[in-house]
């Protein structure tokens, strides 16, 4: 248990990112307990923060900032708020909108980890004399025999968040601290630990969904940003079967909300197969047509050295998705992936994270997919 953690050989000056939630508060407390010199910081990511949290969404309200401050008080560490709203808007929110506009499905949490927490925040922390940034993510850092650092899945697979950290390179990992990664406990036990430490956030509901869309209405958010753009919904033969208010509002594999009104000739449910922003068309079809046999992904980022040889890995395609076996190779700076078994509903824009056992090998952004039939 944490109480028995050995004192680090050299206490680090640690900047703990504190969202106002229970995980980051416990992580900061554990970093203190491990002997580090910890300072708390809450990132203000919204230029116009709401006063209170709406439901369980978001982490950028004034209430969250106050909860983080109270946790820091109890832990006994200095605490500051840093305004990274402008960087967040540029690097995460605008990218999110642009990706949807281009017919892709982005994951803003990965983007935030890559560009904000372990770039903007880390750079500033290092410049100010800190050694590391600590977060409440569930993932493990293993120091290899040659001193290189590897990112591994959390000890508890059910809570593992290594997927959203798959964008970190070795340099970023060298300055990251995830004190919750080796925890094999339920969320209830983390809450109990927070309670035992006197942290009022122990009972706070978990946050999920997209923090900058306070009401959870992604479609409404996009519609406000991108406007209405009515277009056709077509089937695989190109025949018009309905209309939509904006192709950006759809995700590959989506079934609900198509509003086609009449059943398909074969009576089976129809899914979004393709989104074409160029001609503002959404293509729908049967589930089988969602089966993907291969994909290419761009902007690969490697957690260690670039995989020297093509090989067999496991891949994760969604934040809460399962693992699937793939053959992967790098060709002309792109990641080419072939699935052993076809996978369903793979959306361009999402990240594919490759694993070797529990070790994160790297990640890349899915650019194109190939139907299972064609890939064979």
């Amino acid at each position: 248990m944490t109480e028995n953690l050995p004192r680090p050989a050299r206490p680090l000056r640690v900047l703990a990112a504190m969202s106002g939630g229970v995980d980051s508060a416990v992580a900061a407390a554990r970093a203190v307990e491990a002997g580090h010199d910890v300072t708390g910081v809450h990132l203000a990511l919204s230029a116009n923060p709401q006063s209170f949290r709406t439901g369980a969404r978001g982490c950028c309200t004034i209430e969250d900032s106050r909860d983080a401050r109270r946790a820091a008080d109890v832990i006994g560490i200095p605490f500051y708020c840093w305004d990274l709203a402008e960087r967040f808007r540029e690097d995460v929110v605008e990218d999110f909108v642009a990706e949807y506009e281009a017919g892709r499905t982005p994951n803003p949490c990965l983007r935030c980890n890559e560009k904000i927490k372990f770039a903007a925040l880390l750079d500033k922390a290092l410049a100010l004399g800190f050694d590391a940034v600590c977060t409440g993510h569930y993932a493990t850092i293993v120091v290899g025999e040659d001193g290189t650092r590897e990112l591994h899945r959390a000890s508890d697979m059910a809570k593992d968040q290594s997927y959203v950290l798959g964008v970190l390179d070795e340099k970023q990992l060298a300055h990251a601290l995830f004190p919750l990664g080796d925890t094999i406990t339920t969320k209830e036990e983390i809450r109990a630990e927070a309670e035992r430490r006197g942290l009022a956030v122990a009972k706070k509901p978990d946050s999920h969904d997209i923090c900058f869309i306070a009401d959870g209405d992604t479609q409404g958010f996009l519609a406000k940003r991108l406007g209405r753009a009515e277009g056709d919904i077509v089937d695989e033969s190109g025949a018009k079967v309905g209309t939509h208010d904006g192709a950006y509002g759809f995700t590959i594999g989506q079934r609900k909300g198509l509003r086609i009104g009449h059943p398909a000739p074969d009576g089976k449910p129809r899914y979004v197969l393709d989104i074409s922003p160029v001609n503002n068309t959404v293509t729908v079809g049967p589930a089988e047509s969602l089966d993907v046999g291969a994909l290419t992904a761009i902007r690969p980022r490697w957690c260690g050295s670039t995989p020297a040889a093509p090989g067999t890995y496991t891949a994760q395609l969604r934040a809460h998705g399962g693992e699937t076996e793939v053959f992967a190779e790098v060709v002309d700076g792109e990641l080419r992936v072939r699935f052993t078994e076809p996978v369903r509903g793979v959306a361009p824009g999402q990240a594919i994270v490759l694993y070797d056992g529990t070790r994160v090998v790297g990640s890349a952004t899915i650019a194109t997919t190939t139907r299972a039939a064609a890939a064979v």
């Binding site: 004034i62 900032s65 106050r66 200095p78 500051y80 305004d83 500033k124 100010l128 004399g129």
Partner: protein
Amino acid sequence: MAYLDHAATTPMLPEAAAAMTAQFAATGNASSLHAAGRRARRTVEEAREALAEALGARPSEVVFTAGGTEADNLAVKGLYWARRAQDPARTRVLASPVEHHAVLDAVHWLAEQEGARVEYLPVDRYGRVSPEDLREAIARNPGDVALATVMWANNEIGTVMPVRELAEAAAEFGVPLHSDAVQAVGQLDVRFGDSGLAAMTVSGHKIGGPYGIGALLLGRDQTPVPVLHGGGQERHVRSGTLDVPAIAAFAVAAVLAAERRERFAAEVGRLRDELVRAVRAAVPDAVLGGDPDNRLPANAHFSFPGCEGDSLLLLLDAQGIECSTGSACTAGVAQPSHVLLATGTDPQLARGTLRFSLGHTSTEEDVAAVAAAIGPAVARARTAGLS
């Protein structure tokens, strides 16, 4: 520890603390008619007289409030409502753009909710309003001005306003002028009776008194519409049971502030000048904010090019030096100061500000600590840059 944030709040004077605790044991509502009530009333009235004398006012001109913010709100909103009730044409409010948020946001609220037309008076690069500009602004249509409000001295950059001349200009047209003197009391010669002001805000905890107590000094011919309605205390202008312990302690602090002012201003001014010299020696391109000469003796305000004020704050805090960026916070996040922006400071430069404010506990050691820490802190903050 070097506490250099006395403009935020200054340690309570032992004499004030003693006066306050002495009252805690006593019972009595100052509005009650029995012996206990009469005792409480007597304490309040003696305090009122002492405070009035310390501030060059008459006892009847003292309206106790729960602090500076409330006094500012009462003056700005109350005088606006009263003047508009007398003549519906009076909806123009003249305000300096460098006011504390207690004034600025009250004025803004009047514009949003009460049909006020707000006109921000021009300021020079030190944040000073000129009497000529105030005169010109009123003269454009003296009949439609509800009130004017210009602070006595600026809380961020320390610039002192020509309050008497401004009050004269307003008086020429019969326009009431309010001034927030929260930062000025104890450092400048603040005498309400000689100032020509219609209303003036003062606060307890900035002069060694307790938190949560302040006063609006209010000319006897001024009858603002109350913000708080109730039992009719304080000239029917500010209802609410009087806070006897806080009032007693506030008066003690005000009396001591007035008695000690000249000597304190000279001593703290000398320390402040030393601090300014030390900062300039360590960081030659640091820019002193506010009027270099006509400023609060305890205030030193700097902008450090290429630095984030937040970074400097963190680095100095880690070395036990407590100061402020000087600007208001939302969710603890520093916004570029409206004061600096109003003085025409480059917005990038305005992000790297620090306010050192000295007080009655400040020492040479405090200044020496800043002198030793500021150079390396600025160098490090510059590498972190503007995020």
